[in-house]
């Protein structure tokens, strides 16, 4: 008898637990329906409305009395109910898609586009949003989804107006430590010879330093593989160089051979880090953070973590300045204008009750006045204006702008990051934001950095590189998607495998053997179906030129 009671108790418990589970799984549905009838109500543009917003990155809620959001509410009637990502994005998206429970504005995402979470925006923009239409005119066709031709997401970065002032430089270059430059009398190397000469001389004085560093690890192989395209005057197109809209690989060409032959010599001189090809990314960063590396070829963002560590140790002298080295006669093209960040930024969801109102709201914020408020802040409080109309900040205001607590109450950064925005400069000549206003940037630098810039007669790090013109329509070619399982993809993967294997071999070989290793490498490349790869690139470049060119 007792046994039976016990057993039925257990059964009861299990029953209750499973029911509870079921119920908790179901809760949350049901409340979303209803209220969808007010679809096209957009008569009053300043009537108070609350928009729900989801952003796909973790963030902090602004304070309740944040002055910018308050101003937005006053002027446009819109208050924002923001949700930041907590936990794993893919999981969150999965739940959102499965439940069809979307907020009004969602940050862009391929998965959501495929799930049909966004409404097409092109008609709404044509009808109600003249400012957005003007802003995106140049890139209108690029924004269209390649599959169905609709625009679902408004790119948040990559649309430029006026002259573009880059201040920092995140791109590729041959980097040298600031201390090295200072000690060697501020040289400006222009060729590989001059560059390695500086390294050799400096290392002779400081034998403990590592001369030249590179990286050949996992997917971060560009420090080793990309230098030839830049040396020969091409922008960063990944594994190909594009001349007159025609792409070809360069791994087997003379521009590559010249560079790696030089590295081979440099290695024989003992200037190349012995472990360069054996190390992983963490070891690479650790070496940079130790301040022992004289120079390397890399893209700045790739070693930024190491540099950040140097800055927090107060070793500003061990941070780096990039130089655009060229082969004789080549025309410089290191720096490029950042491309349009497609499918990032906001899209309006299918669950939005009043899309017209939302697009009008986004359009309203695209005026220069609003952009100044959103990017610089409020005049007299967050920035000042000189008599000639130039914007600047006082040291106090600069300090505020670095203070996260202050920003939560006085900036709308997290939301604005996803909004369409002006980049470059306003019609009055000021840069669109304080970070790209040259004088403002210079004044906010550390004294040591100012000293270096002064010695080179520059105001920003970007000025070490030539100002780029507008990007070619197809640029950058490395975003071209090689279809899964295609011959082009296979060739590209195998080419990369060969480079990963043979380049270290060639560089580490004794100089007399370099040519034979190189020949071996080239022969192996020619066994691959390179034509399939190049054909795919060219076909897509042509497609982009046809479909992306603005009319």
């Amino acid at each position: 008898m007792r046994k039976k009671v016990k057993r039925s108790l257990i059964v009861l418990c299990i029953g209750m637990i499973s029911t509870a589970l079921l119920l908790s799984g179901c809760s949350g549905s049901g409340k979303t329906s209803g209220g969808g009838s007010a679809a096209e109500s957009s008569g009053d543009d300043t009537k108070p409305i609350t928009l729900s917003v989801f952003m796909d990155a973790p963030g902090q809620q602004p304070t309740a009395d944040n002055k910018i959001y308050k101003l937005i509410k006053e002027k446009t009637g819109v208050s924002l109910n923001m949700e930041f990502l907590v936990g794993d994005l893919q999981q969150k998206l999965g739940v959102m898609i499965a439940g069809g429970d979307y907020p009004d504005l969602i940050s862009g995402n391929d998965k959501l586009i495929n799930a049909g979470a966004y409404i097409p925006l092109e008609d709404l923009i044509e009808k109600y949003a003249p400012n957005l239409k003007k802003h995106y005119a140049e890139v209108w066709n690029q924004m269209k989804d390649p599959k169905d031709g609709h625009i679902y997401v408004l790119p948040s970065y990559g649309v430029y107006t006026g002259s573009v002032h880059d201040t920092t430089y995140q791109g590729p270059g041959f980097y040298l430590q600031k201390d090295v430059l200072k000690e060697m009398g501020y040289p400006t190397p222009k060729t590989l010879e001059e560059y390695f000469d500086i390294i050799a001389k400096y290392k002779a004085k400081h034998p403990d330093m590592i001369g030249f560093e590179t990286l050949n690890f996992d997917w971060r192989v560009f420090p080793l593989q990309n230098a030839p395209e830049h040396l020969s005057g091409h922008p960063n197109d990944g594994g190909v160089i594009v001349d007159n809209n025609k792409a070809q690989i360069f791994a087997d060409k003379d521009i590559a051979k010249t560079y790696y032959k030089k590295l081979n010599e440099v290695n024989a001189q003992g200037l190349l880090d012995k472990e360069a090809f054996v190390q992983n990314y963490d070891q690479y960063l650790a070496k940079i953070a130790s301040g022992r590396v004289i120079g390397m070829f890399d893209q700045h963002w790739n070693f930024q973590d190491g540099e950040n560590s140097l800055i927090s140790q107060g070793k500003i002298g061990s941070t780096y300045v990039g130089f655009p080295l060229m082969y004789p006669g080549a025309k410089e093209y290191y720096r490029d204008r950042g491309g349009l960040n497609l499918n990032r930024g906001f899209g309006i969801s299918v669950k939005a009750k009043d899309p017209v109102r939302i697009i009008k709201f986004m359009d309203a914020l695209m005026t220069e006045d609003w952009q100044k408020t959103l990017q610089w802040g409020i005049k007299g409080e967050d920035y000042e204006v000189k008599e000639d109309g130039t914007f600047y900040r006082t040291p106090e205001q600069r300090k505020n702008a670095d203070n996260n607590t202050w920003k939560l109450a006085n900036k709308a950064d997290s939301f604005f990051g996803y909004m369409p925005k002006m980049q470059g400069s306003y019609s009055d000549g000021n840069a669109t934001d304080p970070g790209t206003q040259p004088q403002e940037f210079y004044d906010s630098l550390k004294p040591y950095d100012q000293e270096i810039l002064k010695a080179y007669n520059h105001k920003t790090w970007a000025e070490f590189f030539k100002e780029p013109g507008p990007n070619p329509v197809y640029f950058p070619a490395y975003t071209i998607i090689l279809e899964d399982g295609s011959a082009a993809q296979l060739a590209s993967t195998k080419l990369n495998d060969l480079s990963v294997k043979y380049l270290p071999k060639a560089i580490m070989a004794s100089p007399s053997e370099f040519d034979s290793v190189w020949q071996d490498y080239v022969n192996q490349i020619h066994k691959l179906d390179i034509k399939a790869y190049e054909d795919r690139m060219n076909e897509q470049i042509q497609w982009r030129i046809e479909n992306w060119s603005s009319k």
């Binding site: 472990e275 992983n280 993967t493 294997k501």
Partner: protein
């Protein structure tokens, strides 16, 4: 997975055979009813096995298709044995197969020898505190992920102030630091030793447990017969753990094509790629990251079939030698 499935099933069958004649009833509703608690207890396991070990076998069909995730099953493109042909005709694959088997074999041999040796030695230590300390220290690395472990290995082998080079230099065994990780023919050894360092302590646990189950009277009898320490190890302890050893060996032989993935991926580099790539890395590179799930499946099938065959061979050898066995 598959060999574990086999064990479960077969063991239960054995039991039934033994039980049935004794009680004198054949498998019937009555027996089922009599054992219903047992049956209920095994149901979740059976469901688990069906869901996670049998249902996925359906996915093997992918190996004969040019599988595209977006298409329904009926719209897939059937390609017969093309994926297998690609696999076996690729020059790289044979090298990869060689590396996998070689590293696995090294791991297997080193793993068993070191674990048993350490277990024997630990067993001889009578000071509990010291024994425990050694055990804890030796199995601590087991809990590190390979990402961290590989970082430690790479740093120790570094030419700049790596501990291995420093010690060898101080002992005057080498004149200048050796770039251990850039020489292909060192790679297998490095992987083998790293595995030993990481897993030896953990692997001894099972042998130590087996040793404790040896009847102490055997040791006493041996002492009376005049056996010393080494004789006791040789004639009592080792034979006592032989059956454990054979079972583990059979199980491990099934994994001979799983040489691992993380170590080789993390320690490998362009210079040693001809020695470091394993099947799993090859599959990741040419299968999964290129969206070619069919190729990955084909490689998986190949591995499973080889594993099953090897387990049966090892098992029948054990049977012939009259040893404890799995199936």
């Amino acid at each position: 997975m598959s060999e574990i499935v086999l064990t479960g099933e077969v063991k239960s069958k054995k039991k039934k055979k033994r039980v049935d004649p004794e009680i004198g009833v054949s498998l019937s509703w009555k027996t089922l009813k009599a054992q219903k608690q047992l049956i209920f207890m095994s149901v979740p396991i059976a469901i688990y096995l069906i869901i996670f070990s049998y249902v996925p076998v359906w996915g093997w069909l992918m190996a004969f298709q040019n599988y595209r995730p977006a298409l329904s099953f009926w719209k897939q493109d059937w390609v017969g044995l093309q994926q297998f042909r690609f696999l076996f005709q690729d020059d790289a694959f044979l090298g990869v197969l060689r590396n996998t088997i070689a590293m696995s074999f090294i791991n297997l041999v080193l793993g068993f020898v070191t674990a048993i040796a350490l277990a024997l030695l630990l067993n001889e230590i009578k000071v509990r505190f010291f024994k425990r300390t050694v055990q804890t220290i030796s199995y601590l690395p087991h809990f590190l992920s390979w990402v961290i472990a590989a970082g430690i290995v790479a740093t120790s082998l570094s030419v700049d102030d790596g501990i291995v080079n420093t010690v060898l230099m101080k002992l005057h065994l080498i004149d200048q630091p050796v770039m251990w990780l850039s020489k292909g023919h060192y790679f297998w050894g490095i992987v083998g030793l790293s595995n030993v360092w990481k897993e030896v302590g953990w692997n001894t646990i099972i042998y130590l447990a087996a040793i404790t189950s040896i009847d102490p009277s055997l040791y006493e009898a041996a002492s009376i017969d005049g056996a010393g320490r080494f004789h006791k190890m040789r004639y009592v302890t080792l034979p006592g753990i032989k059956s454990t050893f054979i079972i583990l060996l059979i199980m491990n032989i099934g994994h001979i094509l799983d040489a691992g993935f993380e170590v080789q991926y993390l320690l490998g580099n362009g210079l040693v790629v001809d020695w470091s790539q394993t099947i799993d890395i090859f599959v990741l590179k040419y299968g999964i990251s290129m969206g070619n799930y069919s190729l990955a499946t084909a490689a998986g099938i190949f591995k499973t079939i080889v594993s099953v065959i090897l387990v049966f061979i090892a098992n029948s050898i054990a049977k012939r030698l009259g040893e404890e066995r799995l199936v």
